[in-house]
Each structure stands twice: as C-alpha cells, then as structure tokens.
Symmetry: C2
Subunit: 406 residues, 2 copies
C-alpha cells in the first residue's frame, strides 16, 4: 500500500491527558480513532493488526479442535432471565424493538450457545464439542479509560467446550492453557497463568493470563513455588507477605489480563436443561467450559508492552505490514528505484507499506516509521546508492543489501 | 473436516410454514440456526460460506481502491441528531448506558464515517477516498420473515467514497457498478442494474442490483430499450404498460435486491460541515457516495436461486468446501481408502468435508450431500473398487477416476 493513499494520518501532538499508552500511540500513529469513551473505529493499519491477531487465535483454536461459528449480538430477554442475569448484570446493554420486544446486547454468549448446543447434543456420541467465534461484544463499563484494554464495544474470541464429565473438561482446559500460551507467545507476550475468581460468570474456578507491566490495572502475587494469584482472591496478601501455599515471601506484580478461562460446571446446563444420555443409558447434565481472549484488548496490550519513546514496536507476526519501505529525499531516481523494489516485493506476496510521500521531510518520514512501528524498515536514499538499508524496529543496527539480496 | 465432528445436524423434516426457501434449506442443511425472527446464528458450514462471500467482496472492493476499516456499532446520539435521523428512522435500535447516555445501534454508517473523514480530509490532495468495512448492522424491521434476506441483525459490506466533484463521483460510481456485477457473477447471480429511489438515505439517485426469481419480494419493470426501474419509482406502471423511455411494452419481473449504490451528494457533508480546500483555494463541500452489499443477504439470495428439490447447489466460489467426500457402506477398506484420499487432499490444501459417519445409511448420506450442496461430491464405495466417483452438484453425470488422477 502506498502511504500517500493511506486513510489515517499520524500526529505529532500528544494528547494532554492521554488515558493510556496504547490509546495515545494507536491514535497518534493512525491505527484507531476514538468515537467515544470505550468505542473505537479501526483504520486500515489497525484493522490489519486485528486481522493478524485474529488469524493467530484462529490457528491455535483450530489446532485444539475448535470449530468456528458466529452468534448474534441481539439476544432474547427470556434467555437472560433463565440464567438470572437479565436483572443482575449491570454491564448488560439492553434495547427494544418498535413492538416493545426487549433484547440484550451480548456481553458474553452462554445465553445463546447453550440453547443452541441443546439442539445438537442428545447422546454422549455428540460430545465433546468445541465451538468458538470471533465477534463483537458489548459491555456497559462505567470506566472505559484504558484505550483498547477496557472497551464498551470490543472484538473477542470466545470458545465454549461441552463435555460428558468434569475429568474430560479438565483435560481440555489444560490443553487450552497451552493453546493460550502459544497465542501470547506468538504475540511476544510473556503471559503468566494466574488463579482468579470466577467473576460474575461462574462460581467455579478460573484462570487468567496476566502480563507484567508497571502500567497494569491488575495486581497479582507470585511465589517461587509456582503459586500465582490475582489479588481479588487473596485480598489480605501484601508484597513480601507469606505465600498461602508454601509460606515463602511473595512478590506483588502489576499486570494486565490478556485472556481468561472458566470452568462453568453445570450452571448453564441446569438453566437450559442441557442433558445427554451417557453410555450407561442415564441422563446427565453437560459440563461446560468457556475461554475468552479480547482480540482488540490483546492489540492494546501488545502496544503497552512493545513501545519506546519513538512509538510502537510491532512483533513480526502481528505487524500490519512486513516491510515499511521509506523513500528519502526528492530525487526522482530514488522514487523510480523504490517503485521497482515495491512492485517486486508485492509480486512476491510480501506486504509492504511504501512511504511515497513527496511533501514530508526525511526526518518526518523516519519519525513516522518509528511511530507506526512496522517490524522491518527498508530505506532507499540518494546517500545509499543502489543499496537498501534494512533495519528491524526493535534493533539499533542496520545493514545494507542489494535489491537482489532482499 | 470430518462430518462426524461437525456442529449442526441436517434435518429431514420440513418446517410446516417455512418463511422462505433460503431459511428452510439453510436451517435443514445445518448452515444456520434461527435465534429469533431476523436473527440467525451461523454454524460452521454457514460461517464458511459467509467467509467465502466476504473474501470475494473484499477482492473486488480492493480492486477499485477500497481500504478496509471497521467502524463501531454503538453510535453517539448527537451524530444521529445532526443528520435528523435520530427521531425519523423507525428501524433505528437505541440503547442507553448505566449513566443514561443514549446510543444508536448502527443500521448504516454515514453518521460515523463522515465525522471520521473530517479528521482526515483538509485539501483536495486528501481526495478521493474509498473506505469500506464488512460489519454487523442492526435494523429494527417490522417484517423479518424472509430468512437471511431481511434481518434485524446482518452482515454488510458498506463502502463510502469521498470526492472533490460530482463528476469524480460519477466516474467512481460507474466503476463500482462494474465491481458489483463482478461480485454477483462470481456468486453465479445474474444481477440487473435497476434505477431506484434514494430511500430514506438520500434524495439523489440510486441503483439497485436485482436478481430475477419468482419468489422475489421486489417488482421491477424492464424494457428491451435498456430501461429497468423498481416499481417504487414508477408506481403507475403495469406489466405490458408503456416504457417511460421509449413507449414499448415493458415486462414486470419479480426479483430480489442483492446490492444498492447511492449518490449521497452533499447531504452528509452539510450535516457535519465536511469541506476541503480545492486547487483554486476555495472551500467546498465533499461529495459522497455509498455502496452496500448485504453479505448474509447475498448468501440467502444464492440459495433462493441455486437449489433443487434435493437441496442447495452452491456455486464453486462460495461452496463451504471444495469436495464432499462420502464413504458408503460399512466396509473397513472403504474407510481406510477414504482416509488416505482425505489426508492427501488436505495436504494439497484442498478443503474437504469427509462424511465418515458409520451409523447413517448410504441413502441418508447421499441425501445429506445433496441437501448440503457442496459443489463437487466424491464417493468411495465397495462397488467402485479403487476408483472414486466424481460428481458435480449441478450436473447429473458422474465419472470414475483413480486417486492419482484426482
């Protein structure tokens, strides 16, 4: 793509009271636009990153047997009454038709997937089932101030697993932990598996995936014995306090949550009377697990972790383009050479953002490349002759190569 | 994918009062599930088709310079008040936060894209711009009874184009007509460009893309002189009446609309004061065009057109899988051979649904294959020896080939 034709401009001015690093950098670099608190538009650069992240998540979910579906955002009120959450969940957005029928706007999808599963599951032979979607969620958060980390509308992957027994769920739950760690590793995030409460979704146990960062809004405690817990389930614990498992001193760490997994037990099966006939001929309730990753939240988290004073540093797998080709100076020869390199790379299916702008200074172009943060920068300049300078965004070193070597 | 592990079962029983062919076939074949009137869940087969259609639309939009973005569904009330549509659009769903802030649920996105464009467009050098998204829309339709053809929640591609002059818009508008015809051709739909009213969106002209079918909910008139108009703009015309262009007898044709394009003129630029500085140094209002294709509606339309008594007949480009491999009988040899063929095809990146079910009869399996309608069926059976029977869903003929030839 030619940068002269890109939708979304970079901005040098920092917001006076930027809510968070990810908001500030993603807005300034032209990835997103804030429509209102907690609600963002994704511009072409931002949309490409979301798409990269979605693809990684898809691959890892498919690898553990997930089947992709897509469920609606409009939910019948009755379903939410059946689970007791119509009146109790304060983050639930509601709407009404012209004929006064009330709907919930899905903040999560147990109320849709469980009745749907009921149409599919009759016998133990129909189990297990692993169904996921990448879809927009609505949550009426009172404080939506952390950029993409806490949205009122956001893109989420949610997978629901259906099992004949608690043991079968447990095995899949462990498989999913590994799948999640693979996702975060590919996004260059060092995620720590953390014990947490079930939140409003379940009374059973849950695990969060937390990434250490001094700007994190969560607090977790970890111990050399392997214990890691969210403060919400160990409210009296303090930094240096005694580990509830081994008694050694724990470390308090600020972090952001990038995913969570829940054992929902029989809660929703009971609400919707979801049963199966087991091998022994008896009717039993289906055991359900639920596994979430906020795709847009993950994009924000990556920016929180991977940045420097100059801008974003995208890990290769989620970089909006493979190469940022920057043409310096106003020498016509440079643009001719750049166009050749650009066309060659595009022909080889490499994704390139070409800064072909003529009115910007060299300093502005290089500053923009650092701000946007594409993982590999290629510079063509009269000073370099026929050579191309290759520099990784996360390194200070560069090397010169010929077009052919590239 | 192994059919034994597919989520979504086929059903032999026809609904007593199925609203439409596309609803009945898509539900029975396990592509979608109706959550409530006008609101559907997409099961793995259905989601794959939507994805295929989205990719076709994406390719054709990219080919005319479109840049993909993604805009929110939650819109600020103020924006809808500025265009005068907050109170006047009866299909507008509304919701409210805990703090009583009101939002619209986007039925279309002029109210978001135009203020966003305002941040990007200052000079004629920033124009033209072509931005599109494939995103979920919400419309509170009173009658949502035609399956995927008229949804309360549906997937839509909407592109907005921004121009310095009416002439520049007109040229792009004609390019877009061709792009639309390419999309429909790839979906094996014979779309007729039809003059229509601007609807509630514009007072300027618009064109619809209509596909002839006896179950269509629209009525259009066409003449051998080339005139094609929707009844809504020629309300007094009747079948055999005089063509308003040439006086010859017109033909009345029932049809379904699969896309529409609008010249929005300056309506929204005026509402949001979207201006640019032209080459002559003068401030002018931006001219806007809008181009919609309902992705889920298109899926429904394809089924309305491409079906027979046995089920759906997917055109190759949108078929959920390239091959439907059906193993007949309960001979272990057949399943061994099938597994080899399945693995070979998957290794070659061919997408295959393998009917590996052991409990269904041959007749049930073949009936399911016809109902699901994957474009090419491969049968392995003890009767065929080592050969594989290849049959296109839209043909009565089949041929025998070896695994190698395949």
């Amino acid at each position: 793509m030619r940068q002269s034709q890109l939708f979304g401009k970079t901005s040098k001015t920092k917001e006076a009271a930027a809510a968070s690093i990810n908001h500030e950098l993603l807005v300034r670099a032209g990835f997103v636009d804030q429509l209102m608190a907690g609600v963002y538009s994704y511009l072409p650069l931002g949309w490409r990153v979301l798409d990269r992240i979605s693809d990684i998540v898809r691959e890892e979910m498919d690898a553990v047997g997930g089947l992709e579906v897509s469920l609606p955002a409009l939910h019948p009120k009755e379903n939410w009454e059946k689970t007791g959450r119509w009146g109790s969940l304060d983050i639930l957005f509601k709407t009404k038709s012209q004929t006064k029928t009330e709907y919930a706007l899905g903040p999560t999808h147990e109320e849709v997937i469980v009745p749907l599963a009921k149409k599919h599951i009759a016998s133990y032979r129909d189990l297990p089932g692993y169904w996921y979607q990448i879809q927009v969620k609505f949550r009426d958060e009172l404080r939506a101030k952390a950029g993409l980390l806490r949205g009122r509308e956001f893109l989420m992957k949610d997978l629901y697993s259906f099992h004949t027994s608690a043991q079968d769920l447990k095995e899949y739950y462990e498989q999913m932990k590994d799948a999640y760690l693979k996702v975060f590793k590919r996004c260059k995030l060092d995620a720590i598996v953390t014990e947490a409460s079930g939140g409003s979704f379940t009374k059973e146990y849950s695990h969060e995936f937390q990434v250490e960062t001094k700007n994190g809004e969560d607090l977790i405690f970890r111990c050399s014995c392997g214990m890691v817990r969210n403060k919400e389930i160990v409210p009296d614990l303090k930094d240096g306090g005694a580990c509830p498992e081994c008694g050694k001193a724990v470390e308090a760490v600020k972090s952001i949550e990038v995913g969570n997994i829940f054992d929902l037990g029989k809660k929703f099966s009971k609400d919707f009377n979801l049963k199966f006939t087991d091998e022994d001929g008896k009717e039993k309730e289906v055991i359900i697990g639920c596994y979430g990753i906020g795709i847009s939240r993950l994009m924000g988290s990556i920016v929180e972790i991977h940045n420097d004073k100059q801008g974003i540093i995208w890990p290769k797998e989620v970089s909006p383009f493979k190469y940022h080709l920057v043409s310096l100076g106003d020498d016509e020869k440079v643009y001719k050479q750049s166009e050749r390199v650009y066309n060659d790379l595009v022909k080889k299916d490499k994704e390139v953002l070409w800064d072909d702008r003529r009115e910007e200074s060299n300093a502005e172009k290089l500053a923009d490349a650092d701000l946007i943060g594409i993982s590999t920068r290629l510079v063509i300049s009269p000073k370099l002759g026929d050579k191309i300078e290759v520099k990784e965004r996360d390194s200070k070193n560069s090397k010169l190569v010929s077009a052919k070597e590239l």
